[in-house]
């Protein structure tokens, strides 16, 4: 059975060109970039090249790139780094602004910071997932140190007005961090156009290896590390550099930039075709997220009378990989905080799946997925205790 992968927001296959670029750094060029000998030099040069590739891909300077282990660490470093730095003068009387629909990498960090005495405002979003700008502006306080608003949401794909947010942040002299893990490689990401001070990137979302990422830190932004050790990465992220991973990230970033004109356009066509086919053939379905300000590869759907996990498994049996928004656990059926924040109706919320497309998906696959989805939804509705059948 042919397997069709449509869960690219979770992770992506590593591009063969990326693998090729990494391979020598496992065996032949395995040096520690901090070593002075030739083995170390090779690693150090690779690090510089990757830094250059990543900087170019987002319009940054090379010394504004801090390599990390991935998006989660980058988010942590941005938020905690700013607070730790300011903490030295102001104590914990500092305020953070974020949104209700951030990734757990930001929400859990904020929750932890709240638990140790910081003040956090979680700004709501509208029914399409766009930040409530009035609430956002009203939430700014004299002691607000950092604003962290994601560039696009990982579940529903809604793209936030970061440029508008950055203007307000600048007017109030507050640092702005954005989690661009889902947008980088899908839509243009330029740090000056966006006007952000910090921006998080993850390698494995752009056909790079897992375990590598970066934080863009605008020149002049004051941060403290939250991991301590040697002086790597300008002292902000100590630890021997993951050279193969970083080389892969650099190559993946470079390829993503090259392909930015073609791949997103291809995914957009597939996305709109899939949405159209589903709405033509299935009743009682809704598309979650913004209709236009949306990632080109994201389709988030809620079906009435069909449960998400069951739908995911029926599709899996047909060889199709998608993800669910809610996780059923031993204690409770945990609803997605994103779906509850945008007010998805109870009748629909448990029947949600996310289909996230990739550059290698085809229109033929879209046809098969649309047909399989209809068959699966019909099957679940036939046996559903709450359906109208």
């Amino acid at each position: 059975m042919k397997r069709i992968y449509m869960d690219h927001s979770a992770t992506t296959p590593v591009d063969p060109l990326v693998v090729d670029s990494m391979l020598p750094y496992f065996t032949e060029k395995f040096g520690n970039a901090s070593s002075l000998h030739s083995f170390g030099q090779e690693a150090s040069e690779a690090l510089s090249t990757a830094r250059q590739q990543l900087a170019e891909s987002i319009g940054a300077k090379t010394d504004e790139i801090i390599f990390t282990s991935g998006g989660t660490e980058s988010d942590n470093l941005a938020i905690r780094g700013v607070l730790e730095k300011k903490n030295s003068g102001k104590g914990k009387d500092q305020h953070i602004i974020t949104s209700l629909i951030e990734h757990p990498a930001v929400l859990s960090t904020c929750s932890f910071l709240e638990s140790i005495g910081y003040d956090v405002t979680y700004v709501p979003v509208d029914s399409e997932g766009i930040l409530d700008m009035d609430e956002f502006e009203n939430s700014i306080q004299d002691n607000t140190s950092i604003i962290s608003i994601m560039h696009a949401n990982n579940e529903i794909g809604t793209i936030q007005p970061i440029r508008e947010i950055s203007k307000i942040a600048k007017e109030n002299d507050i640092y702005l961090h954005t989690d661009a893990v889902q947008t980088f490689g899908k839509i243009p990401v330029n740090v000056d156009d966006l006007g952000v001070d910090m921006l998080a990137i993850s390698s494995h979302k752009i056909h790079g290896p897992k375990g590598a990422g970066a934080l863009y830190v605008r020149e002049g932004t004051d941060l403290e590390p939250f991991i301590f050790g040697g002086g790597h990465e300008q002292g902000l992220r100590p630890g021997t550099e993951n050279i193969p991973g970083i080389v892969g990230l650099g190559k993946a970033a470079s390829l993503a930039k090259e392909r930015l004109g073609n791949d997103p356009e291809h995914m957009l066509k597939l996305r709109d075709s899939l949405i159209s086919k589903i709405f033509d053939s299935i009743e009682d379905v809704q598309l979650n997220g913004h209709s236009e300000k949306r990632l080109p590869n994201n389709v988030n759907l809620s079906f009435k009378y069909a449960e998400g996990e069951s739908l995911q498994m029926l599709l899996d049996v047909k060889g199709i990989a998608v993800s669910t928004a809610s996780a059923c656990s031993s204690k409770s059926k945990k609803e997605s905080h994103v779906l509850t924040s945008i007010g998805v109706d109870t009748d629909y919320i448990h029947g949600t799946i996310r289909i996230s497309l990739g550059k290698d998906n085809t229109m033929e696959e879209i046809d098969y997925v649309a047909q399989s989805l209809k068959e699966s939804v019909d099957k679940l509705r036939e046996m559903s205790a709450i359906s109208k059948c």
Partner: protein, 123 residues
């Protein structure tokens, strides 16, 4: 991960449907929880002659529903009442530990259906 048997029962469930002239009906769960199971029974001479289900829920909710109907069908009411959650889980070849929440729902619905039948025939 789900066992092969769970996936088999989930993808090819038996006894799906409604018994229009059911002798007892039992329902458990709610849309808030996200799982709703309804079990229908037809009783003949104290034996569960037919057992059917309708379920809205996850893989475990559906696979336990179909397994409960298969285990209960043909049994006397007393035998059916002795069925345990372990019997259902064992028949399914096990369930992931973090999925035990929904595993007992189908049995609860069966017991409610029997209770409903007994209530109707008490006189």
């Amino acid at each position: 991960m789900y066992s092969r048997k769970v996936i088999e029962e989930f993808t090819n469930p038996k006894n799906v449907g409604v018994i229009e002239d059911a002798d007892g009906v039992g329902e458990t769960g709610s849309t808030v929880d996200g799982d709703i199971i309804t079990i229908y029974i037809k009783v003949n001479d104290d034996v569960l002659e037919d057992v059917k289900f309708k379920t809205f829920g996850c893989v475990v909710a559906i696979s336990t529903s179909t397994m409960v109907t298969q285990l209960a069908k043909g049994k006397t009411i007393d035998e059916a009442l002795k069925l345990t959650n372990k019997d259902v889980i064992d028949a399914l070849g096990g369930l992931p530990e973090d999925k035990t929440r929904c595993s007992g729902f189908a049995l609860v619905a069966l017991h409610k259906a029997i209770e409903d039948y007994r209530g109707k025939t008490a006189d």
